[in-house]
Point group: C2
Chain length 323, copies 2
């Protein structure tokens, strides 16, 4: 089965979900958010993980959709907290409606995400719900750490890696473990798939940090150096701060604390320090290490090679993206 | 067993819940909110409903606590939306910390509420979770309707009753039904207990509307006429608007739209119109009707009279409160 077939099944499933109708002010923002699209990577991970153990994937489509609805719930609430004006190039929910609507629609979205798991076989229900709830709490912990980092000046690289693990990677891990649990995989296979997801997720986020500075701006659809201008503590910045000598560290701090008339000048200056400290190569090395470790976990999974190839290819596509 | 024993068991259970530790910014507001107290009516309803069918109530304490955690989650998020400075006489979470913290701690609280249901017997898990999720979505719908009403001028009494049913009453209904389900009650007993809760909840909310204007101010711990000053569409106001002649309706609208130097004058003037239209007696009649219907549903439940007496007494105490 070509991977597009799996994606089509997911798209179809998402299009059939009935979130609710009344009051429309509550449910319309959910449909708006879900219709903004996205690559639907998380439900695809669930389906592909399940396909390692069973031919029939239809029965995991609803819980897979639950992962996507949960992901979009986190985006809706994160966008309020980050005061983000845009999401996938469109107005965010709190901009198009208001913050109260985004809070409340998000709340009901989390409830709907839970509901999408209720159709799993009763024997799987307790473990699926426990894994999901734990993951959901961890994603919130990651978002809280991310917010804490905004006002801290002493964030270490291990702390940063912990934050992105919670905020981004554990959900990829859960998406994969979910597919494995529902496919009656062994405990060992489940854990290897989860680790494959977590390591891929970390590599994916580091790649995101890298692309913000070194990506193809046109393809990326964002301002180059947005993180630099926002003073965001990315892997690149933390690496630079750690490796810089006193002079360069002071220079970095000065640039980051400065309100500039010419944003391009600031991005250029900070990037020049990154270049000097070989931050790009160091980040790429770290990405490759995580990606390599991820693949080692996938290798250990007891499933047909040709089926694991779907997951390897998907992970690779996440690493090779230039935007 | 005296009712205080049930309450003590609930208080003890709530005190043992581990919400999480790190980051503290995420979990501290949950403990703060839960420690603000409250009458713990909802978990008591679960325990008392269960006690109708089984002697042993310990096994429902965790899910009963889940209802209370969910209730407090809704309060935390509602307080942001309503920009409320105080909750139970203390600073609200978004005031003490900030709105982002209240959003995110609330989110994780909803997850924790779900987790507290996971320990029920596997045979009950699917139905409990479906009923809870449906109730949770309805509570959000009620809050959205309540917000919609703020900017509407044509809210009807049936619409208002629908709103308070969703926002307040269905959770009391769920709390009772939960106890019944876990006590292996018949479908009929479950539904009668749910209706007992819903009708009691509506009566409770109407009583709340009444006390805002006609309650004992000192005991109530709030400003008398707070709803009038806020221009809130309560049962009293909607009844007055419906029953008033053209002159009084215009007078009411003028007072409600007016920014006054002397709040007491406004409350007195609106209350005078209420008095003229016998709004107090009309509201009391409606409260009594709902309360009577509630008790009829309780009467129909197949359980020992002396055990039902706990629920009757609790409902009565909610009706007789003067604050």
């Amino acid at each position: 089965m070509p991977i597009a077939t799996f994606s089509e099944k997911i798209a179809h499933t998402l299009s059939t979900i009935k979130y609710g109708e009344n009051p429309p002010e509550l449910y319309e923002p959910i449909r708006y958010m879900m219709d903004l699209g996205g690559k639907r990577i998380r439900p695809l991970l669930t389906v592909l993980a399940h396909h390692l153990f069973e031919d029939e994937v239809d029965k995991v489509l609803m819980p897979a959709a639950g992962v996507e609805v949960f992901h979009n719930f986190t985006l809706m609430h994160d966008d309020i907290m980050d005061q983000a004006p845009l999401r996938r190039g469109q107005e965010t929910v709190h901009e198009k409606w208001n913050a109260n609507t985004a809070i409340l629609s998000g709340d009901v979205m989390l409830v709907k995400a839970y509901e999408l798991f209720f159709g799993v076989q009763p024997v799987h229900l307790p473990v699926v719900l426990k894994l999901f709830s734990r993951c959901a709490a961890e994603v919130c912990e990651g978002q809280q750490l991310d917010m804490n980092f905004e006002t801290r000046t002493d964030v270490s690289i291990p702390e940063y890696l912990k934050m992105i693990t919670l905020k981004t990677a554990v959900l990829l891990g859960f998406a994969l473990e979910l597919g494995a649990v529902l496919g009656n995989a062994s405990e060992e296979d489940r854990k290897n798939l989860q680790e494959f997801g977590i390591k891929t997720g970390i590599a994916f986020q580091l790649r995101d940090d890298l692309l913000d500075v070194y990506g193809n701006a046109a393809e990326f659809g964002k301002l180059v150096g947005g993180d630099i201008l926002a003073g965001k503590k990315t892997f690149l910045l933390l690496t630079a701060m750690e490796d810089a000598n006193e002079m360069h560290r002071t220079e970095l701090k000065n640039w980051l604390g400065k309100t500039v008339a010419d944003p391009e000048e600031k991005v250029k200056a900070v990037t020049a320090i990154y270049d000097l400290l070989e931050v790009k190569a160091k980040t790429e090395t770290r990405i490759n290490t995580y990606f390599h470790e991820a693949l080692q976990h996938l290798d250990k999974v007891n499933a047909p090679l040709e089926r694991k190839e779907y997951l390897r290819a998907l992970a690779l596509s996440l690493m090779e993206r230039t935007s």
